[in-house]
């Protein structure tokens, strides 16, 4: 696809893509890559600095930080993609309905979205996570719901611009039902902005999840979520800075990589749209 060619031209996008692939590999083959399990405690070796045995050192329970980071990739990617999946499908569907029918339906849906948007997304996520209770699954739902309005807005905008195109009129002229028009004709032509938003959205989701875990919502120990690791490392930051350094770096690199890919995709898709 020509999109691929254009993406290859941007070195940042390529770097980002490589890093994401590395992340996926880490997540998939965590049990092979990580020398230890993420929960194995070894109090004798607690607070050890990075060494050849413990590449990133150990935490307060003697657990290998490197292994926890590797397993943590799994968690982050799961949260990122599933949360985005939730927001994309629910938000996208609502946005499509609002954009296609307009009028009262549009009003009702978008006003609900406005209410959600008026609450800072992280607070919204906190509220949902707190009410649902702890757990990975609830974390994904909380993060997912908080991002629904973004997708609703984007899809609605796309649908509005496509709805006026003659091929939609043509579909009506041959007797197509509204539902068929939305799913077969309109939505496939809206994918570009959604893809870009989704890519960047994964980054935000991971960050939000890290934030929630940092303050104790969502993931429960001993699950190695990077944000939670950051949080527990806080108390020891003066003496053992590596306990916060590595999870922090992992988060930063992942977010950067996703942003590079998202930017690259946006640029690659845009000229095509302009044409």
């Amino acid at each position: 696809m020509e999109v691929w060619h254009r993406m290859k031209r941007s070195p940042m996008a390529v770097i980002g893509l490589v890093l994401i692939i590395v992340l996926f590999v880490m997540a998939l083959f965590a049990n092979v890559i990580a020398p230890f399990t993420y929960s194995k405690q070894n109090l004798v070796h607690a607070f050890e600095s990075p060494s050849s045995k413990y590449i990133f050192g150990t935490d307060e329970f003697g657990r290998d930080i490197f292994s926890r980071i590797v397993y943590g990739a799994r968690i982050s990617l799961q949260v990122g993609f599933i949360a985005v999946g939730i927001s994309m499908f629910i938000g996208g569907f609502l946005g499509a309905l609002a954009g296609y029918y307009g009028g009262k339906i549009d009003n009702v849906i978008m006003r609900i979205m406005d209410v959600l948007l008026s609450i800072p997304s992280i607070l919204l996520a906190i509220a949902i996570a707190a009410s649902l209770g702890p757990g990975l699954f609830n974390l994904m739902i909380a993060v997912g719901i908080s991002a629904i309005p973004n997708y609703a807005r984007i899809v609605r905008g796309s649908v509005l611009s496509i709805r006026g195109q003659e091929f939609v009129e043509a579909a009506k002229a041959v007797g197509s039902s509204d539902l068929r028009i939305i799913f077969k004709h309109i939505i496939p032509n809206c994918t570009a902005p959604i893809i870009v938003q989704a890519t960047l959205g994964v980054a935000t989701a991971i960050l939000t999840a890290a934030g929630l875990s940092f303050i104790g919502l969502g993931i429960q120990p001993p699950i190695p979520e990077w944000g939670a690791m950051l949080s527990s490392g806080r108390s020891y930051i003066r003496d053992y800075p590596y306990m916060t350094l590595f999870p922090g770096l992992a988060i930063m690199i992942t977010i950067l990589a996703l942003n590079f890919v998202g930017d690259g995709l946006r640029d690659a898709l845009d000229p095509k749209l302009k044409r």
């Binding site: 195109q165 003659e166 091929f167 009129e169 043509a170 579909a171 009506k172 002229a173 041959v174 007797g175 197509s176 039902s177 068929r180 004709h185 496939p188 032509n189």
Partner: protein, 325 residues
């Protein structure tokens, strides 16, 4: 079919739009008949309502008031179920070959759409056979089945649009500026195609265009529209040799003729086409008319049959005198 072979009869059709600045009279009390097998040309400049009229006639837009009788029945009163049935008999070809085709579908899928939606075929094989048949009819090579519209030029895209409209074997086709976006040579190819199709299958056309020489070439009768109303309706030859309405006269004299040394009295209209929003009382054309009289600004002229099959909406048709007010 009713008396005299009338296939379509439009009665007092109105389409108004609510805009922020007031009520837009896109189609304002239009009435006419179309005989089976004829081509009615619909001409006018931007804002005259011809495209809107074409769409309201086949209920792609809902009318504000009036009746549209197709084969004796008022289709504006049809239930959604009956409308779906009707779609098989009335079709439309759009102006812009670049936006009337879903860019994500291949040529074959685009033509298949009406067949799928109306469940015409039980199995894929018969449907594909029909698609190939349609492509051949409009002159599209078979190898283009899997191609996407953006890979093709305007002429071929327009052929796809035509093939799509023929898929359900309609009787009546509204053609909304089908060749305006095409280059002259391709335009001629498509006009020839439309002509052949009509001769072979006996379609009834409404041909909407702003290009008078094209309309003359294809039409049996021509209706001239101005600001939502029909101002003249006559046989295609007569309207060119003996235009009765002052607007028709001005329109005809404005066309640049591709002949050297043709001298003619150019009627240059003053001012711009007024807005169809909250139009003035009386004759809509009075503001720019050279023959304007007092009566013209107070009384709206009706479309009257002034001679057999010749309709004009002007108080002073055949008695035009300059220097009114």
């Amino acid at each position: 079919m009713t008396k005299n072979g009338t296939l379509v009869e439009v009665k007092n059709l109105k389409k108004y739009f609510n805009t922020k600045r007031g009520l837009l009279h896109a189609v304002d009390d239009v009435s006419f008949r179309i005989t089976k097998g004829e081509t009615l040309g619909l001409v006018g400049e931007s804002g005259c309502g011809k495209s809107t009229l074409g769409r309201v006639m086949i209920r792609l837009l809902d009318a504000t008031a009036g009746e549209v009788h197709f084969d004796g029945e008022d289709i504006l009163k049809y239930s959604p179920g009956k409308m779906k049935e009707l779609r098989k008999r009335v079709q439309i070809v759009f102006q812009d070959p670049y936006s009337c085709l879903n860019p994500r579908l291949t040529v074959s899928e685009l033509i298949a759409e009406p067949l799928i939606v109306n469940k015409v075929f039980r199995d894929k094989a018969s449907m594909n056979a029909r698609i190939r048949e349609l492509m051949e009819t409009v002159g599209l090579a078979e190898r283009l089945e899997t191609v996407y519209p953006h890979e093709l030029d305007g002429g071929r895209r327009q052929r796809i649009g035509i093939a799509r409209s023929l898929a359900l074997k309609p009787e009546f086709i509204v053609l909304d500026e089908p060749v305006s976006a095409l280059d002259v040579c391709i335009q001629a190819q498509i006009l020839n195609l439309l002509d052949h199709l009509k001769k072979e299958f006996g379609y009834t056309y409404v041909f909407i265009s702003h290009n008078l020489s094209v309309v003359k070439h294809v039409s049996d009768r021509i209706a001239v529209m101005y600001l939502g109303k029909i101002v003249e309706l006559s046989d295609y030859k007569v309207i060119f040799t003996d235009p009765l309405h002052p607007y028709t006269q001005a329109l005809l004299s404005a066309i640049p003729i591709a002949k050297v040394g043709s001298k003619r009295d150019r009627i240059i209209l003053e001012g711009d086409v007024p807005s169809p929003i909250e139009p003035p009382e009386g004759c809509r054309f009075a503001g720019r008319c050279l023959y304007r009289q007092d009566r013209c600004t107070t009384e709206t002229p009706e479309l009257r049959e002034i001679a057999p099959d010749r309709f004009v909406a002007c108080h002073f048709a055949r008695n035009l005198k300059r220097g009114g007010k």
